[in-house]
């Protein structure tokens, strides 16, 4: 069984984002890069499948700049077998990324049975790549999954929709699945795992190697800027028990008379 996991490297969630002076993207020099948090659930799910199917091979694939290869090394330290990296600039659109992932998967010569990815990357929050990749490979897909069961070649997954309702899907492999928080608890890489990961094979390609060019761009992003700051609000002290009721009544009154939201 061939399992592929698509991962992205993104700025840590606590990062303060600063647009570049020309607005073409953000300052990336001092950013701490992490594996996209949703992708950790995808890697963990692949490793859980491998636990019950020891012959399975788990390949992690990433499209992005090569500044550091943290996300791929982390995935291999967690237990993935090998990796493929497609070198690309920042700020690529979803269509190009999906096409590059498809190219990298095909380069391995392995026919995918299950392709896992995070439901979204927390940099562009586009929520597109897994579904585009599925369509490009002519495969079924289920996104935002929070439950997974594999019986032979049939996968039963739970997809979370609005209000926390769950849609239960049954689908045969090969399939593309986009993972949400709640699916599993990602493991930490062990020290021996980290040592072993250094020796695991990592193929490296250019965008041209996987058949992607500028002509594949479908969406252009520009004029990155900070959102407008809100003016300072009003602050009330309600630490004194005697004043609490008056303060709360005043704020509730302002929500109607001033803010007009109630």
């Amino acid at each position: 069984m061939n399992i592929f996991v698509c991962v992205k490297q993104v700025p840590d969630t606590e990062t303060k984002i600063t647009p570049t002076s020309d607005g073409s993207f953000i300052e990336t020099a001092s950013i701490k890069w992490i594996m996209n948090p949703y992708d950790e659930f995808a890697v963990e799910q692949a490793l859980l499948i491998k636990t019950s199917n020891p012959a399975a091979n788990v390949t992690v694939v990433r499209v992005g700049s090569v500044k550091d290869t943290e996300a791929l090394r982390t995935a291999m330290a967690m237990g993935a077998d090998d990796a493929a990296l497609v070198e690309a600039g920042d700020n690529l659109d979803s269509y190009s990324i999906a096409k590059a992932l498809k190219g990298a998967i095909e380069k391995t010569g392995k026919k995918p049975d299950i392709i896992l990815a995070g439901k979204q990357a927390i940099d562009d929050d586009a929520l597109q790549v897994p579904q585009i990749l599925a369509q490009m490979l002519n495969l079924p897909s289920v996104s935002v999954i929070v439950g997974f069961e594999l019986n032979g070649t049939t996968v039963k997954v739970k997809r979370e929709v609005e209000g926390g309702a769950l849609e239960v899907y049954e689908v045969n492999t090969p399939v593309v699945l986009a993972c949400n928080k709640g699916l599993n608890t990602p493991r930490y890489a062990s020290l021996p795992g980290i040592m072993k990961a250094k020796k695991k094979p990592m193929a490296q390609y250019s965008l041209a190697d996987v058949g992607v060019s500028d002509a594949d761009r479908r969406v252009k992003y520009s004029q990155f800027k900070l959102p407008p700051e809100k003016p300072a609000g009003k602050k009330f002290d309600a630490t004194d028990a005697a004043k609490q009721k008056d303060v709360v009544a005043q704020v509730v009154g302002l929500l109607r008379t001033e803010a007009k939201v109630i």
């Binding site: 606590e14 689908v171 609490q244 009721k245």
Partner: protein
Amino acid sequence: MANVLVFTELHDGHVKPVTLEILGKLAGQTADVAVIGDIAADQVAELAKHGAQNVHKIKGANLDKYSPEGYANALSDFIKSKSYDYVFGGATSVGKDLLPRLATKFDAGLASDVTNFTMDGGVFAGTRPFFSGKCLAKVEITGPKPHFVSIRPNALGMTPNPTAGAGAAADAAGNAGEIRAMIKEIVKATSTKTDLTEANIIVTGGRAMKNAENFAILNQMADVLGATVGASRAAVDSGFAPHAMQVGQTGKTVAPSLYIACGVSGAIQHLAGMRTSKVIVAINTDPDAPIFTKADYGIVGDLFTIVPIMTEEFKKLLGK
């Protein structure tokens, strides 16, 4: 002027509000609406009031419930039979899942989760958040047409006096084609509340809630206000609330009219997920909590005493 198709979903037979937001903003373009299945006359009238010229009801076998492939097949056939420059939809659970697949059937681009846009000269140019709203960027679409756009619910707002359209409803044959990923069962949510991403009022609890049981006081306030209850990542990671309730960079990004944060410190990833709320109220014992920098109304005090008092005040105000 552009020819635009707006894909709408129905919720309990009603058109999703985001569809009406989109139609209002498309004034000056020619806008049709497509729905899978049937739609009641009063809902067609509502669409017409907001500018819909034609309402296409796409009907066929295996389209009674959502499937990414079935919907994408039926809609792409329909779109190919017409000549639309743009296809719009809401960035809802279905929209987020369906539209990337549908756009790729045309090798076309999708600008997703757009929060504002213009159609100068019939050409789309949008704004969308990056890094959960820590910054914004301009988004444009290039390549083969039609171009696809998904719009975040609650972001555009309703157009006050929309220009009405003809609202001519007609059936169209839809072919679901081969469906490999099929819904076998739907497990209803225990809550009947509006989803966080579409809620008008949200009451959120943070780590200071201490446990899951204490969320009862937030539920009581939410019931009075018709609000949806959310939770910070700290509260979710501590097991006080399920991930479906999480607001922030690794949860849901929300934009309600009123956001009441109770015992939420205001970590940067949380602020990213709720900063576009129109009015923010924060209750926290720590006067230096970062949440107060984003709050329109900050109350320094203990949520366990403030929240019940506030619930009573809301009851009085709303005559409940």
